[in-house]
Amino acid sequence: MRYWFPYPLLSFALMLFWLLINQSLSPAQILLGAALGISHAWLMVNLRPAKTSMKKAWLIGRLIGRVAADVVRSNISVMGIILRSRNRPVTSGFVPIDITLQDENALALLACILTATPGTAWLEFDSQTRVLLLHVLDVENGSAWAELIKTRYEAPLKELFE
């Protein structure tokens, strides 16, 4: 089973992608999408991506809700900062954070979350020292930001993947 379907989730996602761009749910398209999904999963074997299994997949709903709320909130605050930046100089700074997440895919997800929320930019991650260097647009104090990111995103991701 594992031999024929090496990455079932990837195959399913590719099939979904195929159906979405064709905007059709006809049996022929489903069959073609499934064939494409399965054959492309075989190509993926050669790349040897890090295998990840979600231990508690139901937690992903809570994480998505939290991220959506943060995206809205940070968009509004960054807009305010930009519009007021002529009168009030922006105090931004670098924040180093010790990351204890081990899983590569979880780290990639963390990068997507931090990029999607304006105001935080992922600059550098050192895979040896496991220190993430973040640039924060409106930094009041660095340790509070580090603590916020650790509890708000890293802890749920750790729970989800490890």
């Binding site: 979405l20 905007q23 960054v78 519009l83 930046s85 930019a121 991650f125």
Partner: protein, 126 residues
């Protein structure tokens, strides 16, 4: 292809609101690109367009064409998904090259590299 004037009023109002707010946010992001003073601050401004701007404009497009063609349209979701998945890559490339340049030039206020454990540890990934 149906005409935009066929769009009923009840759909036109939310479509307009979504489209205008999405483009406003993207515009503010571009203004930020001019106003903010250094490179790292400027990195934050375009992410406004890449998150809220893209989401709102794509929602407007989905709603507009779903009503016009009276069927469900979801493929704009793919635009949102792929933009969110790929912006970190560009952002990290730009950020790392800026850090590299500033460390070599010794610009003030740029944090130095963390102490490497082994001599080969100065390569970074992710």
């Amino acid at each position: 292809m149906s005409h935009l004037t066929d769009l009923p009023l009840w759909a036109a109002i939310p479509v307009c609101l979504l489209l205008l707010s999405g483009s406003m946010i993207t515009l503010i992001g571009s203004i930020g690109l001019i106003r903010l003073k250094n490179f790292y601050k400027r990195l934050h401004a375009p992410t406004l367009g890449a998150s809220a701007g893209v989401i709102l404009i794509c929602l407007a497009s989905m709603l507009c064409f779903a009503v016009l063609q009276s069927r469900w349209i979801f493929h704009e979701v793919l635009i949102i998904v792929f933009i969110i998945l790929t912006t970190p890559v560009t952002l990290m490339l730009l950020g790392q090259s800026a850090l590299y340049r500033d460390r070599i030039e010794g610009t003030d206020g740029v944090p130095l590299k963390a102490k490497p454990i082994s001599p080969k540890a100065d390569e970074t990934d992710i």
